[in-house]
Symmetry: C2
Subunit: 335 residues, 2 copies
DNA sequence: ACTGGTCTTGGAACCGGTTCCATTCTATCA
DNA sequence: TGATAGAATGGAACCGGTTCCAAGACCAGT
């Protein structure tokens, strides 16, 4: 039923090779032959089957993105960046949403065997050496976004530095009692950003000779509700913090909610700083460490396309800049 | 280099047909032959090429989603729903992000020609009859989410009814001066929801004999900033509204921002009601009309999978329920 | 007229599966 | 024992493109 390249060839009185050459308008075809073939393609309304192309070229013409996808606004923003760059290419974008370690491993495997994708972007997930080896032996280029592996190109931010920036800001405002609300140190997904941000905070406090009290470190499942609960226990302490650094804006929302529930005014009674600068942060007037989310996805895709073009240089680690965005949720501590 | 079905066949001393039968473990193969083939598959670490399968089955084994994608939180939520359902199937999810009418038309065309996708979900975009005809003649099943077309199965909400619900709520609180902030009546994408929600509002006002003043209808580009600007002009009127119905939560954010900028307290000085119940609405304590976003994506995908299984019944229009969620941004008008 | 080179072209082989038909083998029954 | 049905299997044909090789056409130079 559908019209194939053979139909076109017959109709135009040429061989299939010639039609193919016209389609991939590269090889040398005489102008009038090309014209005739194009004419027939037009009248028959022929569109080459992508399935046939994919098999014969041994390329899937699609790029996969594996991410802990929709649970975090930051990830959506990164994905937007990747999509923006791919839209003008010949590739389709396939999304693999990870919701459990098992799912992650599934996808890591699947993308490495049969030629499901020509290239892969992995967001915020750290692959094991075995995963990397599998991708390499399968010849699948992989770029990491917001994750590290020594033998993979990647685009990252310096989370430790980000933690330091938040710490300096709060110290400069006069805070000495600074608490941290973040993810668990060990998560099923091996997330490192929350841990690194805490490290930055502690480094600065150490330098300044300010002890970081154990009870000022609160960790729990990523999310607003959890952060709210953790903040309540912080604010119930005998000597509560005057400032809270949340490992993400989402968690900062929970912190502010807890403050509101206790009748505290931010930033008069409590300063709050977040991380990421997701869209809603501006509306909420949240002071935060801004990282270029959209750009990270875009640059990751850019690097991937380059690698796929065949520039097999040593894996690049591109570091995107962080920026302290001072808005309205931080102020000097109450007198 | 990669191991094929022929390698397996030779090694196992059987024909390729037999290997194929084992792979699709359906046809009758003797137990010990199956065992032997599976053994060889294991030792050779054979994974059938998805590209070969796709061509021979003439199916792309993937499902596309066309959406005005990442610009709206509500769309992300719908997409999550679709993804959740597809993850356990054999299909890959390809996302097509529409950013202009031209892009939309591109995607509408592409998905209808060559066998790019086996099925399609279209979110919040209304296809033309010509588009529908093209998909039908190409045999591509399509399901609409948050959009209408008489010959396509779809999952929708009753936006007019939603407008009525918002109107009743505000009237019951005692408001008589109710304004509306929404999208332009005619958008490049033919969005209807904002228009329908306004219709609902006006119907109720008409019934109650309350005139709807022309200057109380403000329309502009979808988004927070635009809504903020529009609200300022509403609040600058000689006889300003006491309540504003925003066509979406995103726009309600802009409304509240404008109120804040003018030193007005919500809901004491001004009541605000939104639409959608996106995630942030709960945090902001926003009164809104809640629609099941996640579920809409999920149900759409469910319908699509059904249609693809081959239940060619008449196109179903499934209507999801709306729900008034009273939170903290609506109150009786100031005395 | 013959030689050698370039340009254009046809079509077979191939990519890696699925499917169907023909064949072989085995068991059952008259 | 021979006929027959059914199960198991091999492999050619096919899906719809791309690619490569050989061959034909054409031109210039001697």
């Amino acid at each position: 039923m559908p019209v194939t390249i053979y139909d076109v060839a017959k109709q135009a009185n040429v061989g299939v090779g010639t039609v193919s050459r016209v389609l991939n308008n590269s090889a040398r075809v005489s102008p009038d032959t090309r014209q005739r073939v194009l004419q027939v393609i037009e009248t028959l309304n022929f569109r080459p089957s992508i399935l046939g192309q994919r098999l014969s070229r041994r390329r899937s013409l699609s790029i996969g993105v594996i991410a802990v996808f929709f649970t975090r606004p930051s990830v959506v923003e990164r994905l937007r960046g990747s999509e923006a760059l791919i839209a003008s290419s010949e590739y389709d974008l396939i999304v693999y949403n990870v919701e459990s370690p098992a799912k992650r491993d599934d996808y890591f495997h699947e993308t490495a065997s049969n030629q499901r994708v020509d290239g892969l972007i992995v967001v915020s997930l750290t692959p094991h050496d075995a995963d990397v080896a599998r991708w390499q032996s399968a010849g699948v280029p992989v770029v990491l976004v917001d994750a590290h592996h020594p033998s993979l190109p990647r685009v990252v931010v310096d989370d430790v530095r980000g933690g330091e920036m938040a710490a300096h800001h709060l110290l400069e405002l006069g805070h000495r009692k600074i608490a941290f609300v973040g993810d668990p140190i060990h998560t099923a997904f091996n997330f490192t950003s929350s841990r690194d941000r805490l490290t930055g905070l502690r480094q600065v406090l150490d330098e300044q000779g300010i002890p970081f009290r154990a009870e000022f470190h609160q960790a729990g499942e990523h999310g607003q509700e959890s952060a709210c609960v953790l903040t309540h226990s912080l604010l119930s302490l005998n000597d509560p913090p005057t400032a809270i650094f949340a490992a993400s804006d989402t968690q900062a929302l929970g912190v502010m909610q807890a403050a509101r529930e206790r009748g505290l005014t931010v930033p008069r009674d409590l300063s709050v700083i977040g991380f990421d600068d997701i869209e809603i942060a501006e509306y909420l007037n949240l002071t935060t460490i801004s990282q270029p989310l959209f750009e990270s996805g875009q640059r990751g895709m850019g690097m991937l396309l380059q690698v796929m073009e065949g520039s097999p240089r040593a894996p690049i680690c591109e570091e995107l800049p962080l920026r302290l965005v001072i808005r309205g949720t931080t102020a000097p501590p109450p007198a």
